[in-house]
């Protein structure tokens, strides 16, 4: 994965950069908005990671300008502001995802992979999803594993659908809350874990190989890991 990091804070850039390189990503870094714009226009990247506050051209303006210039590369916005409506503003200006500092590297990597996969996956509309011996029929909204129909509640279905769409990738709790429940918030307890364990009861309990794994400190992964 080839990443452009536009971040003015050297300490943060160095830290993120080192972690991304360790995770096997290609990295180019710019320390101001104007340089970031020029680099993004001239080179091709899989994902841009843009800080909200930048000298020169600020992060949101940079994204808006790039979108107006016809660039469609997925963007993840980083923000240290911790301000309430940052996320909304960020998404309005054309960002694809948003992460408030500080974040765990696992959260960042998980989100970058999702963005990258979304951009590279075929745009044709799938009618079914498959992970190992489990198949989800998106039209009839049915899940069958090893020939056995698995009855699911609507929310469990949505949860499984999201996990299946991101099979093999680490999905964080925040991502699940955001995409399955539609709210971006910070639960005080691991309320998500209870939902996951219920889902696990249905899809894994009666089968030899468990599909839904917990990745400690990060989140969950359905199916075998990609790496």
């Amino acid at each position: 994965m080839n990443i452009l990091l536009v971040e003015d804070d050297d300490a943060v850039a160095e830290f993120i950069g080192a972690e991304l390189v360790r995770a096997g990503c290609g990295l180019t870094r710019c320390d101001n908005g104007d340089q970031g714009y020029a680099t993004a226009c001239n080179e091709t990247f899989d994902v841009w990671v843009v800080d909200r506050m930048l000298p020169g051209r600020d992060g949101l303006t940079l994204i808006r300008d790039l979108r107006q210039a016809g660039k469609t590369t997925p963007v993840l916005v980083l923000s240290a502001l911790g301000e309430v409506d940052d996320r909304v503003q960020g998404l309005h200006s054309g960002a694809d995802d948003y992460l408030a500092k500080p974040f765990s590297m696992d959260e960042l990597l998980a989100r970058l992979q999702v963005l990258h996969r979304r951009a590279t996956s075929s745009s044709e509309v799938a009618t079914s999803l498959q992970v190992a011996d489990m198949v989800m029929d998106l039209l009839q909204q049915r899940v069958v594993r090893d020939g056995q129909l698995i009855p699911l509640q609507p929310r469990e279905y949505k949860l499984l659908e999201y996990l299946m769409r991101h099979a093999g990738q680490v999905v964080t709790r925040a991502m699940l809350l955001q995409h399955v429940w539609g709210y971006n918030f910070d639960p005080q307890t691991n309320v998500i874990d209870v939902h996951i364990s219920r889902l696990r009861q249905k899809i894994d309990k009666d089968f030899a190989t468990p599909l839904l794994a917990t990745v400690r400190g990060a989140g969950y992964r359905l199916g075998a890991g990609e790496d």
Binding site: K101, P102, G182, Y183, T189, V191
Partner: protein, 456 residues
């Protein structure tokens, strides 16, 4: 206004004390003057008796006993109220002349002076009258008692005393009534000040006492209090920004530590990795606390929500309850929801979700197994808004802690060690409610806790 409060007020006590001192002073002055008057009166009275005895002596020297008898009879016929009374006896005590009875119950004083009471007919009625008298020898064979009533002085004294007592009573009563109203008025002003202050302390510390309509000391006092509030607010702000700075500055090194631990865990054996994972979980909890503190500060420092997005509160509550339903089921808690078909308010859905989730999370956490948690949405017509009540059947929180639990990191004692949590949930809930122009209040659910969330 309650009377006992006025009476025990400082102003009233001061006025009462002043009245007491004033009355005592007046009383002492009058008693002093009365003593002087009495002394002079009795001096004159006794002098007149001595003079009269000298007259009798002269008469006796010139005319003997018959002259004295004649004189005494003549004097008895004078019809003035205040005349002398006489008793002439021989040495054995046998009455020879005079209008006093022979054997009166005398009280003897120094210098041959006597005092007695005698019933006299006055206006046809028998009245006990006080007399001052003196007995002297008349030649060698006779004795004479000359008495004069001092009833007049006693009556005058009584009149003066009565007048004085009545005047003083009226003064005291009027003074107390006036003092009561003066004290009530000043108490009213001070109670107003007190109410204003507690309103500010309880509610929004950035408010000030509006004392433009006040005069004098109350206005001065209000000014001083306002300046004090300015300082308190500045200090509070300072403390908060210090804690914010700490949280902010520690986040980056902590995140780095966490990520390095995470890298370390990859390279370790499974057993060691598990121990590192526990450290990572601790880091995550710390980071979550720091993030929550900074979010609360951002909410409190920022301006109120001014967006146009409308939130369907019913749907939002259904989503929150649905998210927490499995958690409740795990503890066999009956989670009930009562919503309204269309209840919209302006706000940010993510934040309101966070608010309800925090409160519901607490409710489920503190309710024992097989308990009851209910979420209900009502229209609050008085405030033209909505009220969300989240009630549980847990141990509740005693009223003395109701204010404290909204403070950052405050946790009621038993749960501090027993249950996980960073003590920021209700602070965050309140910050979000305030951000939306609403409030969060606590009530006793008997048993359990009721959390009342008012939204515009």
């Amino acid at each position: 206004m309650q009377a006992h409060k006025v009476i025990s007020s400082l102003t009233f006590r001061y006025i009462a004390r002043y009245l007491l001192v004033l009355s005592a002073t007046v009383f002492l002055v009058v008693v002093g003057m009365y003593s002087i008057y009495s002394y002079n009166y009795f001096s004159e009275l006794s002098q007149s008796i001595v003079d009269e005895e000298e007259t009798l002596q002269l008469i006796y020297d010139g005319q003997g006993l018959p002259g004295v008898r004649q004189y005494v009879e003549d004097q008895g016929k004078i019809s003035i109220a205040d005349h002398f009374y006489y008793l002439v006896t021989d040495v054995e005590g046998t009455k020879l002349a005079g209008d006093l009875p022979q054997a009166s119950a005398y009280r003897e004083f120094d210098g041959g002076w006597l005092g007695f009471e005698l019933a006299l007919l006055e206006w046809g009625e028998s009245v006990d009258v006080e007399f001052l008298a003196r007995e002297v020898a008349l030649g060698e064979d006779y004795r004479v008692v000359v008495a004069r009533s001092f009833e007049q002085a006693v009556a005058q004294g009584r009149l003066v005393l009565h007048t004085l007592v009545r005047t003083m009573l009226v003064t005291i009563v009027l003074g107390l009534v006036g003092g009561y109203f003066a004290a009530a008025r000043s108490l009213q002003r001070f109670e107003w000040l007190g109410r204003e202050m507690s309103r500010i302390v309880r509610g929004d510390p950035s408010q000030r006492i509006d004392a433009d309509a006040e005069k004098g000391q109350v206005r001065e006092l209000a000014g001083v209090i306002n300046r004090m509030l300015d300082q308190i607010e500045a200090l509070m702000h300072g403390v908060r920004s210090v804690s914010d700075n700490i949280a902010h500055d520690l986040r980056t090194p902590l995140a780095r530590l966490r990520n390095q631990l995470s890298q370390l865990a990859h390279d370790l054996s499974e057993q060691d990795a598990n121990r590192v994972e526990d450290l990572i979980a601790d880091c995550d909890a710390l980071l979550a606390s720091f993030n929550a503190v900074l979010r609360i500060s951002a909410l409190e420092a920022g301006s109120r929500f001014s967006g146009e997005t409308e939130v369907d509160l019913g749907q939002l509550l259904r989503d929150v309850v649905e998210l927490y339903e499995p958690l409740a089921q795990e503890k066999s808690i009956d989670l009930q929801l009562a919503t309204l078909p269309s209840a919209h308010c302006l706000g940010e859905a993510d934040l309101l979700f966070q608010l309800f989730a925090n409160v519901l999370d607490n409710a489920i956490k503190y309710t024992p197994a097989s308990g009851l948690v209910s979420v209900s949405l009502e229209r609050n017509s008085a405030r033209a808004g909505h009220r969300i009540v989240i009630a549980d059947s847990g141990p509740g929180i005693s009223a003395e802690h109701w204010k404290d639990v909204f403070r950052r990191f405050y946790r009621v004692e038993p749960s501090r060690s027993a249950l996980p949590g960073h003590g920021l949930g209700l602070s965050m809930a309140q910050a979000i409610a305030h951000y939306h122009g609403g409030t969060v209040d606590l009530e006793d659910n008997q048993p359990g806790l009721r959390v009342l969330i008012e939204l515009a």
